[in-house]
């Protein structure tokens, strides 16, 4: 298991290096001169020259790459051109919202999807199964911003249980902050839970028809015991894959929901940075997101190996 983890860790580092090279070259090399791109077509030549100096564009490509990487490793992401403050601070401000929001939404996703998927699979063809399939179909189909607005209408405006948006900050207390994140988390979780419940159901149905379930029944296990002891763990592999993808998506893909609830999260930051041509912020946030995706995949790989002993020995 340790050997497996070390090997995966090695490939994690390699992936990160490759990703950083790709991001660096996309942003610094491909679209011509970053300084004039950031300042727009009406910029004065001396302003451009000043920005070039500030960005360190006058040094060679490898030098710029290594100073970017070493800055990143020491927590120095440079200074945002539009915000005029260190990128690390801006990102940190956003991350304290986006990371809890993504975790919250993913927990809800799993908490909804697991029981629902198991219920549908064990009662295949029953009213419960058909309702689950119908509801999850709807959950996938309904755009989450529409559902978010509906929830704002019901729970914030009519019932006044929650505020319609905004974030009081963690200083306001854990529960106040979590309360502000609840509606957005539900809005994010519902479509994800619908997908995950369907994956859980079909994966479990596949597993339940395996020969070893019949063997377990022949040993005297009831249907329920066979499900819990033998089917569930084997059904987890495809489910883990989807969970990994969903977390990465939730971290940065929440932009519409962030807008509906006026949450200053990472998604909005990327959007603003792109529209303001703040390449320094874009570069750092994209690298951060890539880092998150790769780390999540690493964790998913470890989870695979924990679930399935065959993967441990294959490396």
């Amino acid at each position: 298991m340790l050997r497996f983890a070390l090997k995966r860790l090695g490939s994690l580092v390699i992936s990160l290096i490759v990703a950083s090279l790709v991001i660096f070259s996309c942003i610094e090399v491909v679209p011509g001169d970053p300084a004039s791109f950031m300042l727009g077509i009406n910029a004065q030549p001396d302003t451009i020259a000043a920005l070039r100096e500030e960005l360190g564009l006058n040094s060679s490509l490898p030098e710029r790459y290594f100073s970017w990487i070493s800055g990143m490793l020491t927590g120095d992401l440079g200074t945002s051109y539009t915000y005029r403050s260190p990128v690390s601070e801006i990102v940190a401000e956003r991350l304290v919202i986006s990371l809890p929001l993504a975790t919250y939404a993913l927990s809800l996703t799993v908490l909804i999807a697991f029981p629902v998927g198991v219920l549908a699979a064990t009662r295949r063809g029953s009213v419960a199964d058909i309702s689950v399939m119908g509801a999850t179909q709807l959950g996938v189909a309904i755009p989450n911003f529409w559902f978010a607005m509906l929830m704002v209408l019901v729970f914030a405006i009519n019932l006044r249980w929650f505020s319609a948006g905004g974030f009081p900050g963690w200083d306001a207390g854990f529960f106040a902050a979590m309360k502000a994140l609840t509606l957005p988390a539900i809005a994010l979780a519902l479509p994800q839970a619908s997908i995950l419940a369907r994956v859980m159901r079909s994966s479990l149905l596949d597993t339940l028809s395996e020969d070893y379930i019949r063997t377990a029944r022949a040993k005297g296990l009831s249907k329920r015991q066979a499900l819990w002891r033998h089917a569930l763990r084997n059904a987890l592999i495809p489910v883990l894959t989807i969970i990994g993808l969903q977390f990465s998506f939730l971290l940065a893909g929440a932009i519409i929901i962030e807008n509906v609830f006026f949450l200053p999260g990472l998604g909005r930051l990327v959007f603003q940075a792109i529209s303001q041509r703040d390449l320094i912020v874009v570069e750092s946030v994209v690298m951060l997101l890539v880092f998150a995706v790769i780390v999540v995949n690493f964790l998913v790989d470890l989870a695979y190996a924990w679930v399935d002993p065959r993967l441990r020995s294959r490396v």
């Binding site: 395996e210 020969d211 070893y212 019949r214 063997t215 377990a216 029944r217 022949a218 040993k219 005297g220 296990l221 009831s222 015991q225 002891r229 033998h230 763990r233 084997n234 679930v307 399935d308 002993p309 065959r310 020995s313 490396v315």
Partner: protein, 518 residues
């Protein structure tokens, strides 16, 4: 008093009758063989006893295990009986075990489900049971996972799970069908020993007459859901009265009428062929270790000859077959077909065709037979004419109208005929038959063997017949190669090899093969 008593058992699934009026008994310590072809209902008889039937099953009649009625028992009572009074062993050991649990946990589970003992105690008894099933703890500790074991070893684990609580009745559904002959002999011996030690009843289900008659005390023959004959195993071949039983015995011993067609000119010639597989590196930049799957193999097939290639799973015969077909690169040696190299001169490959084992998986279900049969023509860059398709279908005994049908409309034997028609259509000289009759019932197998012999005489075909089944190869091959660990260990004319094997390995193979009483 009988241990298991089945009286007038009827079973239907979604209204389709499967079993009708099945009755038989098993006494303690008795081995009852249940014989039938695929679809006869023999497995569903076993699942009726276990009451592990598919949804929509309707089971009537009477099944009594000792003094307990099975059909009127409720689900919790059945769960108590399964595993404790009734054990079951399945056909496919590769998939019968949970891949994510250790073998110890899986054997111990049988004990933990039924008895209030500590986990440590259950594990200790699991270890004992595995020892009884000839899996010694020093080589196969409880912490092993199923994927670390071979098929035969996994089957021993399945048996250990079934007998951990010393049930009164053990049901074994084709327990050795997926195994090699030597492993099969070991597993059958193990079952026999356990029956003797525990005075347990054994219901041994198989399609293979030789396996059953070699082990069982009594035999029940099932055909289309009905018992057609019951008899003493050792004398059944003398006492049998039902025509179906007689036909089964005849088909199992079937010898097609062969005429000598080989001429002394080589068609396929292999010289020092080796195939190495790269294994994963041990160190990051270290060299790849290699595994030699085929090790300096040389032989030739004469025109018109039927050459049998036998060996156990993993001996390299599939790799060798793929290399001959040009589908697998070789690291050393040369493969010449009709004097031309199959790798450097790929056009020569149209002189050979292949028929695979699985008549269900080797056709695209969305194409009509006419297109399936014409597939080899893609290589020639033209389609097949209708008359060519008709001729190919007729030559394997099918109707010309069959070309408009889809593959699901045919039985396993008919599908194998279509596979042969597909191989014949380009008029090849060599046909490679890779376990081509292994998945077929004995009566169908006999027909296909006759067909192959007939086609060989009519078209002057040469066969390379690859199989693990010694009875079949004896019936059809002129000459036999025995392969072990990538090497050809013995070659000889069929009669010589069977009557006077030289190598120990060949002798072991022949001794392990189950034989019908003559």
């Amino acid at each position: 008093m009988s241990l298991l008593s089945i009286r007038n058992l009827n079973l239907s699934i979604h209204g389709t009758p499967i079993l009708s009026g099945v009755s038989f008994d098993i006494a303690p310590g008795e081995i009852l063989g249940v014989i039938g072809e695929s679809g006869s209902g023999k497995s569903l008889t076993a699942f009726s006893v276990m009451q592990l039937l598919p949804d929509g099953s309707d089971c009537t009649g009477e099944i009594a295990l000792a003094d307990r009625q099975v059909l009127t028992a409720n689900e919790p009572e059945l769960c108590q009986m399964r595993g404790a009074d009734l054990g079951m062993v399945f056909q496919e050991p590769m998939t019968a075990l949970n891949p994510v649990q250790t073998i110890g946990a899986q054997v111990a589970e049988t004990i933990l489900i039924h008895q209030k003992v500590s986990r440590a105690e259950a594990m200790r008894r699991a270890a004992e049971t595995l020892e009884r099933c000839e899996l010694p703890q020093d080589q196969f500790p409880l912490t092993r996972y199923p994927h670390e074991l071979s098929g035969g070893q996994r089957q021993r684990v399945v048996i250990a799970m079934a007998i951990a609580l010393q049930p009164k009745l053990l049901i074994a559904d084709e327990p050795t069908t997926a195994l090699d002959v030597t492993t099969q002999a070991d597993i059958l011996n193990l079952l026999k020993r356990l029956v003797d030690e525990d005075d347990m009843g054994l219901m041994l289900i198989s399609h293979d007459l030789a396996v059953v008659t070699g082990l069982a005390d009594r035999v029940v023959i099932i055909r289309k859901g009905q018992v057609v004959e019951t008899g003493i195993a050792a004398t059944l071949h003398q006492t049998m009265t039902h025509p179906y039983t007689k036909a089964l015995f005849k088909a199992s011993n079937h010898q097609p009428d062969r005429t000598e067609t080989r001429i002394d000119a080589p068609l396929l010639q292999l010289t020092d062929v080796s195939r190495d597989y790269l294994l994963p590196r041990k160190a990051f930049f270290g060299p790849h270790p290699t595994f030699r799957a085929v090790d300096t193999v040389s032989f030739q097939i004469r025109r018109g000859e039927c050459l049998g290639l036998v060996g156990e799973s993993g001996c390299g015969k599939s790799t060798l077959t793929r290399a001959i077909l040009g589908l697998e690169p070789i690291q050393r040696g040369q493969i010449l077909l009709d004097g031309r190299d199959v790798f450097t001169d790929p056009d020569v490959r149209q002189k050979m065709q292949v028929v695979f084992q699985d008549p269900f998986g080797s056709f695209n279900p969305r194409h009509k037979v006419s297109r399936l049969v014409a597939e080899p023509f893609h290589r020639l860059g033209r389609g097949a004419t209708l008359s060519e398709i008709d001729e190919a279908l007729q030559s394997v005994g099918l109707e010309t109208d069959d070309k408009h049908k889809y593959i699901h409309e045919f039985s396993g034997g008919q599908r194998q005929r279509i596979a042969i028609a597909r191989a014949l259509i380009t008029k090849p000289e060599l046909i490679v038959l890779d376990e081509a009759v292994s998945a077929l019932d004995v009566s169908v197998r006999a027909q296909i063997l006759d067909l192959l012999v007939d086609l060989s005489a009519r078209f002057g075909l040469t066969y390379l017949f690859i199989t693990h089944d010694l009875t079949v190869v004896r019936a059809i091959a002129d000459r036999i190669l025995v392969m072990q660990s990538g090497k050809i260990v013995e070659t000889g004319d069929t009669d010589t090899l069977f009557n006077a094997p030289r190598e120990t390995y060949t002798r072991r193979l022949l001794a392990a093969a189950p034989k019908l009483p003559a």
